[in-house]
């Protein structure tokens, strides 16, 4: 027994030392040599990264992921990640890139390195076409503004427009039903959400397509992997030249948000 324990201990120690000696992330050359790039994406965020009914990955982020693989000349292995564990995947080098609709924030910048952004997000307001609301200033005190609890929309309006009466709901489905039933004059949410709602529901218009601070969505790599980051930056620059993201928008997002909002969402 003692012998076994001793061997185990020695084994662990060796593994530990090897681990410390090894550099974690992979450079562009490492990836090319291996022949496969691992990219973390969402598998349940329509229409950015999702799995269609036939089990195939689809969406705006996925198009970019596949293009990156093509231009590197390697196979793409898509890894399903969750919002809560995206940073862990990079920190432990389980993936080379995260393309899971990752919003650039100062907090995240300390843990991962972001490449050039490829998408904009901000808040938006949708209201009935009969009575479109185009500004949150001069809000009618008798009207209620619908928000979903715990979202950035709620934080924003509580901070900047404390006098607007709110009607809060817990889920997307409830907020949507409430607006359709006229329980509120307008609905404030991520602009992608309200745009897709207005697009798919008759009689509603997005009066304010962008509100508050503009956030950027960008690919992220492991902290310090400047080689891969530089490659992605150049890739995004050259993709912009050939209007890749505009075509990507037409292919994956236009049917959900409408063609007219391309310049709002896509970064040129």
């Amino acid at each position: 027994m003692k012998k076994i324990l001793g061997t185990l201990f020695a084994l662990l120690l060796t593994v530990g030392l090897v681990g410390c000696a090894k550099q974690g992330y992979r450079s562009v050359d490492d990836i090319k040599k291996d022949g496969t790039i691992k990219i973390g994406v969402f598998s349940d965020k329509h229409p950015f990264g999702y799995v269609d009914k036939n089990g195939k990955y689809q969406g705006y982020d996925i198009e970019l992921a596949n293009r990156i693989g093509k231009d590197l000349g390697v196979k793409v292995k898509l890894v399903s990640t969750e919002a809560a564990n995206r940073i862990e995947y990079l920190k432990t080098n389980k993936v080379d890139i995260i393309l899971a609709n990752f919003t650039v924030t100062d907090e995240r910048k300390e843990e991962v390195d972001f490449a050039l952004p490829y998408m904009n997000v901000s808040l938006g307001v949708v209201s009935p076409t009969k009575k479109v609301i185009t500004s949150l200033d001069n809000w009618n005190k008798n009207d209620k503004l619908i928000v979903i609890s715990g979202t950035t929309a709620e934080t924003y309006v509580t901070k900047n427009y404390p006098n607007i009466p709110l009607q809060k709901y817990d889920t997307y489905a409830n907020a949507k039903n409430a607006l359709e039933n006229g329980n509120g004059a307008a609905w404030l949410n991520d602009n992608t959400e309200v745009l897709s709602f207005a697009k798919s529901t008759k009689g509603f218009t997005v009066g304010i397509p962008t509100l508050g601070s503009q956030d950027k969505i960008a690919p992220a790599v492991t902290k310090g992997n400047s080689d891969l980051k530089k490659w992605i930056d150049n890739e995004i620059k050259s993709l912009n030249k050939e209007d890749f993201f505009s075509k990507d928008y037409d292919k994956t997002l236009a049917s959900v948000y409408g063609k007219e909002y391309k310049s709002t969402i896509v970064i040129k």
Binding site: M1, V15, G19, D44, H46, T81, N85, Y89
Partner: protein, 224 residues
């Protein structure tokens, strides 16, 4: 019908994707269960009969496993071990963690069952002229096994149900597949979660209920 999202099941490969997710979850738990039962019985006996040092180590191990949330163990195995250059696939990390957890719990159940055996059972057996070995085979082990059945069946169903945590380390299990289906159709059928999760509930039930039935049957059959 369409309102509750049952129709989503029959679009494309959705139903077979759900079943694939379930199969993966059951496959991972089946391997872990078999390993846990074998290792758990061996280590359980070692906890009672083994060297004092082994007993102390085992007690510490069981406490550790019982205190740690399974999700933390999964994160340690999948992300944490990466620091030691051990790169496990999500499935492998799941099997290892579930086996460690199951073994700890099982060995504690075995230890409890052995300790709870009245001492006069051994003594009566010896007094009847049986050898120590015969006492174990004919008197002690059958009774321990009987006491263990309901407890270990309970452990097995718990292990199957806990596979719903595996999506956090990237295993595309039945829960993850249902989330994918629900989210992909969020705009078209906002209440799809109801129908899909109801089906998931039934699939889990179908997977776990036979185990309960088997446990009840064995208990009845082995009643002394």
């Amino acid at each position: 019908m369409a309102k509750w999202g049952f129709d989503l099941l029959f679009q494309g490969q959705n139903l077979s994707r759900l079943l694939e997710g379930l199969t993966l979850a059951l496959y991972i738990s089946a391997i872990a269960v078999v390993l846990s039962l074998v290792l758990g019985i061996i280590l359980g006996i070692a906890q009672v009969k083994g060297h004092p040092l082994i007993r102390t180590i085992m007690r510490g191990y069981v406490h550790f496993i019982q205190i740690m949330p399974q999700l933390v163990l999964l994160f340690i195995a999948y992300f944490g071990l990466r620091a030691f250059a051990i790169n496990l696939s999500p499935e492998m990390a799941s099997i290892i963690v579930f086996t460690m957890w199951g073994t700890g719990e099982m060995s504690d159940l075995v230890r409890g069952a052995i300790v709870s055996m009245d001492h006069h059972q051994y003594e009566s057996g010896l007094a009847l002229g049986m050898s120590s070995r015969q006492v174990y085979i004919h008197v002690v082990i059958p009774q321990i096994a009987k006491r263990l059945i309901p407890l270990s069946m309970n452990l097995i169903t718990r292990m199957i149900k806990t596979t719903s945590l595996l999506l956090m380390i990237g295993v595309v299990d039945i829960i993850k597949v249902s989330q994918q289906i629900i989210e992909t159709n969020r705009l078209a059928s906002p209440n799809g979660a109801f129908g899909i999760y109801l089906v998931v509930f039934m699939l889990y039930f179908i997977s776990c209920y036979p185990i309960s039935i088997l446990a009840r049957y064995l208990e009845k059959k082995w009643r002394i």
